[in-house]
Homo-oligomer: 435 residues x 2
C-alpha cells in the first residue's frame, strides 16, 4: 500500500506533513475537467446502445408512420358524407371491403362507400376519416353512421410522429429506452456512439495478494479489494475497466507498465491504486512526473488526501489511495469525473440526494473537505455518523446509507442541522407515488 | 396492432367502450405484487455481481485485516517506552530492521528496540504501536522519538474491518461497488445471487415488419419500436429480455408460442405487445384466459388502458398496448414492477423526481390516472405539457423531461400548481454540490 502520511483517525495530528501543500477539491476538479476529452466514436447496433452517447445527430430519413393509418377500429369513409348525421338520422354507406393491418384494402373508396378498418391499417384512397365502431351499426353490407365526423378524425397522419428530414436526436444524447425504440422505428440498425472508455486499473503494492497466491503462501498479504471496487464503479459510470497487477512496489515496473498502457489504443484513462502518498515507497507520483506531467498531488480532502492527477501520453492518470474508503472517496470525487468526461457523459452524481437532520454534532477540520459516511437511524429518521475511525474500514461503506460532504470552510455542523445525504443506493428514490 | 377502443386524443369520447369495467391502477399493482415471486438463485463470480441481489447472507470466514498492521509509515516499538517523551526529552531506541508490506520483519522487538515499518506492513511481535516518521529522528542505527504514544496507536488491528464469523451482508442486498470490493477482500470468488429474470417480449400484429422484410416489400408495415424499447427497459431494471416475433394476428400461433415459453426454464415472465385491447382482432386476452388465468384486462390509466395481466404456467404475463407511448406507460407502471419483483429488487422507480410549477392549466378526466409527458421551459423553469395528442407519438417521449401523474380523483391542476415530475433521465440528479 505504501505510505500514509495522513492519519485517517486523528484529526488533531499535525497536518501538511508529507504534502507540502494540498490542492483544493475545486482546483482538482477544474484540472481534470480542462484536460480530459471524450473518446472516439464507433458504430454499434441500435439494439445494444442503451446508455450510450450519440456521436452524431440523427436526422430522420423516413416518415413515421409512412402512410395514413387508422387510430381506432371502425370504418374508413369520406367524412363529409356524415355531416348532419346523429343518433336519430344516421348516414348510410355500402361496405365494400376491409383494410387489414399490414396489407390494407386494395381499391378506392367512392361516395357512399365505406371500408371496415382495424387500428394500424392503412386508410384506403378516397377515405379521409375513421368512424369508431361504437357510433355505427351494420346490417349485411349496409353501414349506418350515427354521428358527424370531421375529416382526419382518428387518422394517424403520415409523419405525425416523425417527419422525414427532421432532426430527431441531438449529438451527445444519452440513449434511453424510448430512443432505442425510436431508432428502431426509423429503421436505423447501426448508430454512431462514443466508445466506452477503457480504463486501466493498476493495483500496486507488495502486500497485495495476486490471484494465484493462496492464503498460506502469503500470511502477511491482503486480498485486493480496490481493483474490483474501482472496476465496478467504472462500469457503473459507463467505462470499461481492465484490471492490471498487482505490481510490486518498484518504480521501474510501474514505469514500464504505464508506458505500455499509455500507448495502447484501447486504454483512454488509467487509475493507479496504492503508492500514491508522499512516503519513500510511494513511487507513483514520481513515475508520472518522469513519464508525463504530474499536475496535482495531495488534495485537501479527507480521507483521500493521498490522491494525485497527471497525464501520461496525453491520457488522464488518477492516483488513488490504498485505503479502500479513501479509494472510494477519491473515485467519487475525481475518478467518476474522469470516466464520465471520457464517456461524453454529464458529470452529475449517480447518488440520489436526500435531506436529513443530523442526530449529533459533527466536527470537521477547517481547510479540507470531509467525506463522512452516515446512516439513517430508523427510529427518528435522523442521520448519524458511522462510528468507524478509519479509512481502511470498507465494511462501513456497506452499512452506510451514504455520505455527506463538509465543506472546507466549515468546522462541522451542530446537532439538528439539515444536511444533504448522498445515498450509495442509486435506486433509493421515492417510488412513483400513486393517486 | 389490433384494436384500439380508447381514443388517445379525444378526452370527450364516450369511454368504457371496449372494456366493460376498468381495473384501477392500485388494484393492478396489488395483483402483480401478490402473484409475482423472485426467481431462483445461481452461483456467479463476485467480479461480475454488480447490481445483482444476494440470495443468501454472507458471514465472514476471515478477519480483515488478518494480522495487525501499520496504518502509517514510521517505527514499530513498545509504546510504554515512549511515555514521558516529548520534543525536548526524546526516548531512544535501537533500529534492528525493517517490516515491509507483504513480508514483514522476521524477528521479535524487545525493550529498547524499534523496527522501521511502512503502511500496510505487519506489526512485528513485541511491538504494539507505530510512531509516525514526523515525530522521530534517525542517527545511524539510533531512533529518537519526540512524542508519547499510546499502545495500539496507528495499528490497524486484526479484524478491525471485518471480524471472522460476523455477518457482513444480508440476503436481498443489491451489490454495489463497495460490496464487490468487500467480497473480494473476504476472498469470496463465487457468490449466490438471484438469477436475472428472463423476460420474453412477444411482438404481435400483421402490421409489424419482420427483420428480413425490406421496406419495399411491405409498404403498409411499420418497424417494430416496442420490442427494442421494452427490451431496453427490461435491461435497465435487471431483467434479461428475449425478443420473439413478430407473430401474425392469429390466436393459435400466439397460444402455441405462449405455451412453449411458459414451459421454458429460462423464461420467468412474458410481455405481449399489441392485440391487448377489446376488439375482434385482440386475441391476447382470450389466449391467456384459455391457457391460464386472465386476472385483469383494461386499466383506468391513460394512455395505457388496453393493458392486461394474467398468469400462464404460473408465470406473469403482461399485455401491453401497441401504441408506443401507451406501451411505455404500461411498462413504467406495471412492467417494471414485474421485472423488479422477479429480480428480487425493490419496486422503487428509476426516475428521479423533481418539483416544478405547471405553466398552464392541465385538464384530466375523473376516474382514471393520467400519465402526462411534460417538458421544462428553459426561460421560466416551469413545466408545460408536450403538445402531442397521441399515444402513438413516441418522439414526444424523447423530447420530454419526464412525466407527471394525475391521480384518478382529480380533474387536473390549475396553472402554477407545484407538481412532481418523474424525469426520464435517470441521472438527471443535482450534482454533488461542492463546498
Amino acid at each position: 500500500m505504501a505510505g500514509n502520511h495522513e492519519s485517517s483517525d486523528t484529526p488533531n495530528d499535525p497536518r501538511g506533513c508529507g504534502f507540502r501543500s494540498r490542492t483544493t477539491v475545486e482546483a482538482m476538479l477544474a484540472l481534470i475537467d480542462s484536460t480530459t476529452r471524450p473518446v472516439d466514436a464507433e458504430l454499434i447496433s441500435g439494439n445494444s446502445a442503451l446508455g450510450r452517447v450519440l456521436a452524431e445527430s440523427v436526422i430522420s430519413q423516413v416518415n413515421i408512420p409512412s402512410f395514413d393509418r387508422a387510430a381506432m377500429d371502425g370504418f374508413a369513409l369520406k367524412a363529409e358524407e356524415t355531416f348532419g348525421a346523429d343518433l336519430y338520422t344516421p348516414a348510410q354507406f355500402t361496405l365494400i371491403g376491409r383494410s387489414r393491418p399490414g396489407t390494407g384494402y386494395n381499391g378506392q373508396v367512392s361516395a357512399g362507400q365505406a371500408v371496415a378498418i382495424a387500428t394500424g391499417a392503412p386508410i384506403p384512397p378516397g377515405a379521409n376519416c375513421v368512424v369508431p365502431v361504437e357510433f355505427t351499426e351494420v346490417k349485411d353490407t349496409l353501414l349506418f353512421v350515427r354521428s358527424s365526423v370531421t375529416p382526419g378524425r382518428h387518422v394517424g397522419k403520415t409523419g405525425e410522429d416523425v417527419w422525414k428530414g427532421s432532426p430527431v436526436m441531438d449529438q451527445g444524447r444519452v440513449l434511453r429506452p424510448q430512443e432505442i425504440g425510436l431508432l428502431a422505428g426509423l429503421g436505423i440498425q447501426k448508430i454512431k456512439v462514443l466508445k466506452k472508455p477503457g480504463i486501466a486499473v493498476i493495483a500496486t503494492g507488495d502486500e497485495i495478494r495476486s490471484d494465484n497466491e493462496r492464503d498460506h503462501d502469503s500470511q502477511y498479504k491482503i486480498n485486493n479489494m480496490n481493483s474490483p471496487m474501482l472496476s465496478a464503479l467504472i462500469c457503473r459510470d459507463g467505462g470499461e475497466p481492465i484490471q492490471i497487477g498487482p505490481l510490486a512496489d518498484d518504480p521501474a515496473i510501474l514505469a514500464s507498465t504505464l508506458h505500455e498502457l499509455s500507448a495502447c489504443n484501447d486504454i483512454h484513462g488509467i487509475m493507479i491504486n496504492g503508492g500514491s502518498s508522499a512516503g519513500p515507497e510511494d513511487h507513483a507520483p514520481g513515475v508520472i512526473a518522469n513519464l508525463g506531467r504530474l499536475l496535482a498531488h495531495g488534495v485537501a480532502l479527507r480521507p483521500a488526501s493521498p490522491t494525485g492527477f497527471g497525464l501520461v501520453g496525453g491520457k488522464p492518470v488518477l492516483l488513488t489511495p490504498g485505503n479502500p474508503v479513501s479509494c472510494l472517496c477519491a473515485y467519487d470525487f475525481f475518478g467518476r469525473l474522469i470516466v464520465r468526461k471520457l464517456a461524453g457523459l454529464s458529470s452529475t452524481s449517480p447518488y440520489p440526494v436526500i435531506r436529513r437532520k443530523l442526530a449529533h454534532k459533527l466536527s470537521s477540520s477547517l481547510g479540507r473537505v470531509d467525506y463522512v459516511r452516515v446512516q439513517i437511524i430508523n427510529e427518528t429518521n435522523e442521520i448519524e455518523v458511522i462510528a468507524t475511525s478509519g479509512a481502511s474500514i470498507l465494511s462501513g461503506t456497506t452499512r452506510a446509507t451514504g455520505f455527506l460532504i463538509v465543506p472546507a470552510d466549515l468546522e462541522g455542523y451542530p446537532a439538528e442541522t439539515l444536511v444533504n445525504v448522498h445515498c450509495y443506493d442509486t435506486f433509493q428514490m421515492p417510488s412513483i407515488e400513486l393517486p
